[in-house]
Symmetry: C2
Subunit: 745 residues, 2 copies
């Protein structure tokens, strides 16, 4: 070949190669470099299929097994039975295959009260000559081996002082102040009397606290079959033949009006912690108090003389209730017999544990979704609290397994708490919130409480603050009720308890949180959005104040599995709903806290305040207008943040910090309602919207109580100053909430 052909060929080839290289490099697009995976993780949202799998795996039989293990022995706080459960739960949560990242026991030195095993409490009838005509039963009747367990604690009123007061018996209905006043109005001198009262209407300790100023020197408390047994009162009609309380059953309980360790208010009860004097304790009975069964109560009440009690005071003991004082003559007892209350309780500081289990969050480990229940019971506690603990253990089993298999890690951290000594006054959970106050205040997203998970198997019910309503609704829509493939927990709930929301129309009715379980320090003291979940009664079928075996030796696995939830399918429905809520809170990119639902509450509170107080306020030149303005500002801010959330969810390039900023606003909204100076006299109540109140008006509690006191005073009185102050407190809280939700700058 000629050189120029070769040359030309090489040149052409080089040219073609160059064109190829250029085209290949520049013209053919490469796929874009993938987003770094760590960045993708930052904006991953909840995995709905994981949610479905977890719910599938939550198993009723496994819950039954947990419950059996938990209820083998009585496990009153700090007893051997309780310590055994500490180790059981630690073992499960530290399990290599189904455990959590970390689990530990945290101990507090709690001030508790116990009966004296060698000198049992009782109630006697003593004749004028000093002979004992009657002694109350020292234990409940042993229908099964459970009741005969030597570790069953005798019935007693925890924190009642010891003593042996003796006097004429009176029947004082529920031990409310108005009840004692009624007796006084009937001309009955209560000085030196022993009052027998039924559970209900007033708190346990209030019955004695109310009676003492009237001169009452001892109190006997019992459960009337009318209040708990739908009137059933014979052995044949009651457990073990039905769910009703047997005649010898006695409700134990803490006679303590506050919560937290009584000697260390606001400080964790460590060994070295400063303790107040026992004499400074408030809210416990000033006089000896002892609970008895209704069989013993019948023996006493049905022998009373004196005027017949009012119709509303009558119960189902099978006789006409008279009010006393003293017994009928002739009657079962020697004429002039007194009743003596013999209490030998002692107080002791004991070590009580919280068992804490942790799953570390992958993206936001410094955000905590909290889930808890207490562990201690009065006796075997199959319902209270083990039904809740069994649910918690099932959730941790299913999540722990996924975690250990490397299939899942939540976006945020999850903290489980098995609280100690709740029965004595929410001690474990309160001490926990005191110890970790700052940290929880900054980092806790929400608290889920499942104490008694199944009171009865008719319907789900929930209590909580408005921001958690939507996530409870969402979860309960994804769970079916037991033995149904079509009816959701949500729909069934709506059938039983509902209201018409101005925003949503008919919806299930979310209850308000009181202070009845471990959510109390979380919501009232720390301002963490909280909820309490359970399955409960069909109120058309029973009027029982609570499930009849509550706090008695009959609250056993046998009772739970035969009468409360055979097959544990209601337990399962609660576990699925609670687990669903837990995962939504921990895994959702944007926190599922709907802050605009607080707007409805504030509107309701405002309307009630306006209707009830506006005339009176206007007379004293106080106006509600700034409160209304603040609520309007809040609603505007809430609507605007919801709009921002929608935009953010549509934005592909959403910055992880924008998400965090919005989430912080949602999380911290509840905190903005806190004011530690709002109620200086009420231990731990700092939440301006949900503090306990005496007034029945459904509005700002501080305003309601202040108004109730002021209404008959002149405008210049200190009482009216207090009304104005609480109005300012309410306005400031709502303004502060609005400010938290508004554009950050």
């Amino acid at each position: 070949m000629r050189w120029y052909i070769i040359f030309g060929g090489v040149l052409a080839a080089a040219g073609v190669l160059t064109i190829g290289l250029l085209l290949g490099h520049f013209a053919i697009p490469k796929p874009p470099a993938p987003e770094p995976s760590w960045l993708k993780d930052l904006s991953r949202d909840i995995d709905e299929s994981l949610l479905q799998e977890v719910m599938e795996e939550i198993n009723n039989q496994a819950i039954g097994e947990h419950l059996k293990q938990l209820t083998m022995k009585p496990h009153m706080a700090t007893t051997k039975g309780d310590e055994d459960l500490v180790n059981l739960i630690l073992g499960l949560w530290q399990n290599k295959e189904t455990g959590l990242d970390e689990a530990k026991a945290e101990w507090y030195h709690a001030f508790l009260s116990f009966p004296n095993a060698s000198q049992p409490n009782n109630v006697t009838v003593v004749s004028p000559s000093g002979s004992i005509a009657f002694t109350s039963q020292l234990t409940e009747k042993g229908d099964t081996a459970d009741q005969r367990d030597p570790d069953v604690v005798q019935p007693y009123a925890a924190y009642s002082p010891p003593g042996n007061p003796k006097g004429q018996l009176v029947y004082a209905n529920q031990g409310k102040t108005s009840d004692y006043q009624d007796l006084l109005n009937k001309g009955i001198n209560l000085t030196g009397t022993i009052a027998i009262v039924r559970y209900g209407g007033a708190g346990r300790s209030a019955k004695a606290i109310n009676g003492a100023p009237f001169g009452v020197i001892g109190v006997i408390v019992y459960t009337d079959p009318k209040d708990i047994n739908d009137g059933k009162a014979t052995e044949q009609e009651t457990y073990p033949n039905s769910w009703y309380l047997p005649p010898s059953g006695v409700e134990r309980g803490s006679y303590n009006g506050y919560f937290g360790d009584l000697l260390t208010p606001y400080y964790p009860a460590k060994e070295h912690t400063y303790r107040i004097n026992e004499s400074e304790i408030q809210g416990i009975p000033p006089i000896p108090t002892q609970p008895v069964g209704y069989e013993d109560a019948r023996t006493l009440i049905c022998q009373l003389k004196g005027p017949k009690a009012d119709e509303t005071w009558q119960g189902s003991l099978g006789c006409d209730y008279s009010v006393g004082p003293g017994f009928r003559d002739p009657g079962a007892f020697p004429p002039g017999s007194d009743v003596q209350v013999n209490v030998y309780n002692y107080r002791d500081i004991r070590k009580s544990a919280n068992v804490m289990g942790m799953i570390r969050g992958s993206v936001e480990p410094d955000r905590y979704v909290m889930y808890g229940n207490h562990r201690d019971s009065w006796v075997h506690g199959a319902i209270d609290p083990s039904s809740g603990t069994a649910v918690m253990l099932e959730i941790t089993r299913v999540l722990g397994k996924r975690l250990k298999e490397g299939k899942w890690r939540p976006r945020r951290s999850i903290v489980f708490g098995s609280w100690g000594a709740e029965e004595f006054g929410l001690i474990g959970s309160t001490e926990y919130t005191e110890e970790y106050f700052s940290k929880l205040r900054e980092r806790a997203v929400a608290y889920i409480n499942v104490d008694i998970s199944v009171f009865a198997n008719a319907t789900f019910r929930a209590q909580g603050t408005p921001p958690v309503q939507s996530v409870i609704f969402k979860a309960s829509q994804q769970v079916k009720i037991p033995n149904s493939n079509s009816v959701s927990v949500y729909d069934n709930w709506k059938n039983f308890f509902n209201r018409t929301s101005p925003t949503y129309g008919p919806i299930p009715s979310l209850g308000s949180l009181g202070a009845g379980s471990d959510y109390a320090p979380f919501i009232h003291y720390l301002g963490i959005s909280s909820m309490d979940l359970a399955y409960t009664y069909d109120r058309s079928k029973t009027t029982a104040r609570i499930y009849p075996a509550y706090h008695t030796a009959y609250d056993t696995f046998d009772y739970a599995s035969r009468f409360i939830d055979p097959g544990f399918t209601s337990h399962q429905a609660v576990a699925r709903t609670a687990g669903n809520i837990l995962l939504r809170l921990s895994d959702s990119l944007i926190l599922p806290l709907n802050v605009s639902d607080y707007g409805e509450t504030l509107d309701t509170f405002y309307k009630a305040a306006f209707a009830e107080y506006n005339t009176g306020l206007t007379t004293c030149s106080i106006t509600l207008t700034p409160l209304g303005d603040a609520i309007d500002r809040f609603k505007t801010a809430a609507a605007s943040i919801n709009q921002q959330i929608v935009s953010l969810q549509q934005d592909d390039q959403r910055s992880p910090l924008k998400v965090r900023m919005i989430n912080d606003q949602l999380m911290l909204l509840e905190r903005s309602f806190l004011n530690p100076l709002a109620f200086p006299d009420k231990f731990y109540y700092s939440h301006v919207l949900w503090a306990s109140k005496n007034s029945g008006v459904n509005t700002f509690p501080g305003l309601a109580d202040a108004y109730a006191k002021a209404s008959i005073s002149p405008c210049t009185s200190a009482e009216w100053k207090e009304v104005h102050k609480h109005l300012t407190i309410a306005i400031q809280a709502v303004e502060s909430a609005a400010s938290t939700l508004e554009a950050v700058i």
Copy 2:
């Protein structure tokens, strides 16, 4: 050409092209797809060159111009002069070219106290026949037009009650309780007397509060030339001939021991806010009180009879000070003359504004770096506070210009506050913290206060909490002192005030924050890391209690520019240092808060407590060991988080959320020392480490004061309970701080 040659050529060309395409596409690496710019922004650190430029631009002459504008007229809170400055600052901050993103005035209804212009306060000497032998000067001598401005407020003691008490004069030194007690010990009956006292030693209002229980019925306060003028007391030696106070100069001031609006503690003073009764106000004089110049004081004190005052009580009025009661006979006044204090002050609720200026953060708009100073003065206030305001306006001018040019936007938001009514008791800043309590508690990174920016031109000085020490050091190392190219503000500071740190060796000494300016509500009430910056005295050259024209009609532009800081170069050094700190706090990726520096403070506190109290505590079976353990835990946690920060800074793929998490821990550390229940009697003091205390021991204030009270009581006393309680409070605060810094889960 033959077909096969053509075919072969085409084939070869195609092959070469293919090879080219393949090589071009796959073998020649393209540069990696750039990280999305929004992601890069998230982890951008501070730009040191910007910092240098900003510092360069901060200009002494411009500061002088700001100062001139600010001091044209007296601008006492809520007067026309004050309102004019509100508009001036609003105008600057809203300027299209050099302004901020947003500026607004926020108004409060503040409870203030004023003298009655038509009935001027005075002090008279009244003879037994009722004739007036002497009347104190009603105004200060007018050396320049500034002093003759009709808007110069007469000297008065704000919040002193009106009244005309008359009695024998006594000299009571500084009006401390111990001073009155000393007089009593000398056999002097103080009942019905008028006390003349010098400034210093006790707070303004304390002088009257301390005296009243001894029977004192009126108080006269003056500034002794010994305390403020290095002894100089003639017209020739004083302004306008020097910086010293002329004989007729009178220090005005708020006679108010607390801070915040007195009628609305804990609530923002809006129109509708609940107000306590005036009779419930604490911390103000219970008896009429009036300040006078030392010329008038000389006339009174040098005529006193009675025993000669102790050497430490003597001043520089040019006579021997006797203590009274009453005047010498013979003397300048008719025998038996009394002194009468005539106060006609009235109280009024007036609208006072904070001017707020905002720069929105680019990455973390929900984190606020705060910078503030008050705006109101007593008269022209060239030093107090306008020297600080001039510095603030220079910083906002330079930053605003960059912002409006689109050259810069800080990572975090910056909030500037020009506070109102500080002189009456930090009212504007306190009401602001009350109104935005929740928001600031969650979002404020730090607060920088520059009130009086230049007391004197010798050296920089700073007060603050330990976490801000390092950033102040860093900034002050980057700024040169006036008229030097080599000496840094840091080195000069270290020459004047230094200490030997166990960690760092010799370093400048950072002072503690009291409650003397607007940082008080930020640190004590909200627990926001705070600092106060200024240039100050060479203590070898003057012993003046404060700059001599303080709170007088002589604190003018002329005074400032001739005697305090000619050329405004010390102002400039403060502005550069403060601006540098501000930018480091707003722009640094990791917050420049060195939390481990709290370890040194805690160690110091612990050692002092151990040395002073351990023997006594041990006697009462209280141990400091848990406190020591808590401090060790804190130090370990602080060291560990510092280690994490180092790792994070070396990590290329640092997640924006990891940065945020660490920053949140750093920011919130200070908050963890808050306990709103720790000092229920002390308004606003919630910070367990820095609350005001009476004890001189440099340790935990609650423990120190409780111990001082308990030391002579039996171990079973309530006083010892209080000691134990405050030890628990200290332990809980330190544990809580450790917990905040430890691994989040």
